[in-house]
């Protein structure tokens, strides 16, 4: 008994098990806990990017449109740290678990999360860009034809940070 218990955190295990026993487990609703705070002041330079008056859904959609136009993204989704869907305009459900797992796979204690990508079809990759703030973390998934170079990655991060009201210094 002791030899087993020392390896396990019984409270954590029980919490995980209890969650599994909930009938019809539902992830967070599509816009719950989305990380958009009231301090968001919009982005004036590019009319396509979200503005303060937008709802979270509108902001996400505008970011999606921006990513499609500026980076030829064929699909965009945004997950929270538990892989609950914040936004998915194209039904990319099959990639959600993969995105989160890939993003977290190389993580070491206190290591920052880095963008990763995976070839998912001929001429198509899934680019996963993790974002984190003190309160929230996100996984941004982009279906694009080729991995973005550092400048493009920076541009995407910048645009998304406006969407999620994350300052670049926090990312």
């Amino acid at each position: 008994m002791d030899s087993i218990d020392t390896w396990l955190d019984p409270i954590e295990v029980r919490q995980l098990a209890d969650r599994l026993l909930q009938p019809n487990f539902e992830p967070a609703s599509s816009m719950a806990s989305d990380g958009f705070d009231d301090g968001f002041i919009g982005y004036e330079a590019d009319s396509q990017l979200p503005v303060a008056a937008d709802s979270p859904a509108q902001r996400s959609q505008r970011f999606c449109d921006w990513a499609k136009q500026h980076h030829s993204a064929k699909g965009v989704f945004i997950l929270d740290h538990e892989a609950s869907v914040i936004f998915d305009e194209g039904g990319h459900g099959q990639f959600h678990f993969l995105a989160r797992s890939l993003a977290l796979a190389p993580r070491r204690v206190n290591a920052s999360l880095e963008p990763v990508y995976l070839k998912i079809a001929a001429g198509m990759i899934l680019q996963i860009i993790p974002f984190a703030t003190a309160q929230h973390s996100f996984f941004l998934g982009l279906i694009i034809s080729e991995a973005p170079d550092p400048a493009a990655l920076s541009s995407i991060r910048e645009a998304f940070s406006k969407v999620a009201s994350i300052s670049q210094s926090e990312v």
């Binding site: 098990a17 992830p27 538990e82 892989a83 459900g93 990639f95 993969l98 998912i120």
Partner: protein
Amino acid sequence: MRNNSQLDVISIAVSSQKGGVGKTTVSINLAHSFASAGVKTLLVDADPQGSVGLSLTRQSRRLAGFYDYLANPQIPLEQLIVPTRLKTFSLVPSGQGSDYEAGGSGMGAHLARIKTFLAAVSGQGFDLCLIDTAAGLFGLTGDVITASDAIMIPQQSEPLGIRSVPKLLEGLNRLRVMNPRLSVLGVCLTMVQEDLMESTGAAVALRQLLPPAMVFQTQIPRDGLFVRASARGLPVGVLDEGVRAQAIFDALRAEVESKLKPNGGIRTA
């Protein structure tokens, strides 16, 4: 409503984080128990090692099967179904899965095809589809679980197996994000050795660790009879000396049925 996918068949993935825990033994004998009780049952071998096929059919490596269905949209399910002497019990072997043995595919790659497979199984009039998966909760196995109505988890009753439980639960919680209606039937302790303190201790520890509803009351003992049955290509209940073992799987079946009842239960033929 009888299941999550609105199909007439209920699909149960038999999966585990760790290999060699008795998934195939549980799958074969539980499927046989259901079939013996009149439930039209299809046992699907989704493990590229093909253990179900190797256990129940001598020519399984020559038969087309589940992996061929995934790879070739032209193959109809009817061509894959292998009948048994029990009218209500059929199986789909793993098939020629060599392409998958090297590590398989990413998560989600086969989800749509597996859903099509289950729809075809429903169309064939099966009441229950038990799917014996490869070890792990990722890749194709993750897709099978994501497409299924329920999952049961055989767990070897030994300390190392119990230590993998947190990882198992984490993995299942992630899969439930993708399949929120997945019913987790629970962990079934296998290879229990009453004469080995470490084995019985591990069983007790698991029952203390998890909520009672998460652990099947029925335990599968380590028994040479299962090896003998497999050597003869039969479910253990078919053997003359298999009455006691059959009773264990009948008890496990009753537990599965009671756990599925809130979802409408399993139709019987």
